[in-house]
Symmetry: C2
Subunit: 219 residues, 2 copies
Amino acid sequence: MTAPVRIDRRARRRLETIEEIVDVSVEVMTEYGVGGLSLGEVARRMGMRTPSLYVYFDAKNGVYDAVFTRGWRAIYEEMEPLHLQETDVQDLEPFLLAVASRFVRWTIEHPSYAQLMMWRPVPGYEPSADAFAAAVDVLESARAMFTRLSARGLIRADVPVDDLLQIWTVLTSGVMTRQLANAPHESFDEGRVTATLPALVAMFVTHYGTPATTKGKKK
Amino acid sequence: MTAPVRIDRRARRRLETIEEIVDVSVEVMTEYGVGGLSLGEVARRMGMRTPSLYVYFDAKNGVYDAVFTRGWRAIYEEMEPLHLQETDVQDLEPFLLAVASRFVRWTIEHPSYAQLMMWRPVPGYEPSADAFAAAVDVLESARAMFTRLSARGLIRADVPVDDLLQIWTVLTSGVMTRQLANAPHESFDEGRVTATLPALVAMFVTHYGTPATTKGKKK
DNA sequence: GTCTATATGACGATAGAC
DNA sequence: GTCTATCGTCATATAGAC
C-alpha cells in the first residue's frame, strides 16, 4: 500500500527537478544567448555535475524541446482567452490590435523562448512531434478566431481563412523579428518596431475587414 | 623596384585566401547551420590546420563579420538598380512587388547569409561598425526609393518616410522569417509563405499608395 | 609572411563505481 | 540518483620552423 505513494513522491520530485532544469536553462539562455546554453553552467547553478542532468534529459536538444513546448503552451494560455473574446466585438480594428499586441508583447518579454520558437537559432535542433503539436495548437486557436470573424461578417468572406492566417502571422512575426534582432533591449512599450503595430493592423483591417467594421473611418 | 610587385602579389594572395575562407565558411554554415560553423571543418576542407586560419582572422566572429558584410554588399548590388528604376513607374503595385520579391528571393536562396544578417543566431557575435554600415547602405537605398516615390506623388505625402520604411521592412523580413523558419527547404517559387507577397504588397499599396496609382482597380 | 606543433580549458556525451 | 573518470571536439594562444 505504501509503494504507490513513494512512487508518486519520486515521480513528483523528478518532475520538479525537470522543471528546475528548464527554469535555469532559460536563465542561462537569456544571459548568454539561445545557442549559448551550456549544460555545465546549468549544472553549476543547480549544485550538480553535468552528467547528472542526463538522468532527466537524453541530450541537450531535449532541454531545448522542453523550452520550446513550454513556450508555446504559455503563449496559448496568453492568447486563447483573448481569441475567444471576439463574440463581443463590434469594431474589428481595436480588437485585432489587442490580439497582435498581446502576442508580440509576450515575445519581446520572453526573448529566449521567442527566438527558439520563431527562428532556427540552434543547429541540429528540430522540435519533436509533441513540441510541434503545442505550436500548432496556437495556430489553430488563431485560425478558429478568424473563422468566427469571417462567419460573423466582420472580415471579407471571399478570402480563405488560411490566407488570412498566413498574412497575419507574417505581420506579427515580422514585428517580433525586427524588434528582437535590431533593438533587443527596447521594451515593448518603447520599441520603435513594435510602435508600427497600430499602422500594420489598420492596413490589415482596411484590406480585409468588411465595410461594416470600418464605418465612420477615413484614411 | 621589384619589392612593390612582390608585396602586391602577396597582398592579393592574402585576399584570395581570405575570400576562400569565407566561401568555405558559408558552405559549412549551409550544411551544419549558421551556429554550426566550425573552424576545424573549414581548415580541414582547405587542407590547413585550424590555427593557420588565425593568420587571416582574429577570431571566429571575424569570419561571421566578413560573411555579414559580404551579404549586405551582395544584396545592395541586387537591389540598388531596381530601387533606381522607379523613374519609369506608372503603376506602383507591380513595381513594389518586384522590389519585395527580389529581396525575399535573395534571402531564400542564400539562407545562411540571410539568417546571420536578419536574425541573431550566434551568441556573442555583433556586427562591427563597418559591417553595420553595409547594412545601413541597403536601408538607405530603400529609403531613397520611398522618398522619390513620395515626392512623385505615388505614395501618400502625409506618412513619414521612416514609417513607410519600418513597415516595409516588417513585411519583407516577416515573409523571410516565416519561410526560412517553417519551411526552409521550399524554394522561393514554391514557398507557401513567399506566395503571400502579392497580397501583402497589395495591402501596402491600398493603404499607402495615392489614388493615382490605384486607378482602375477594385478590391 | 605563412603555416605547423603543441597546449589549454570548456564543451557535450558516455561508462561505470557507489 | 549522483558521482568520478574519460573521450572527442571545439576555439584559441603561443612558440617556432621555413
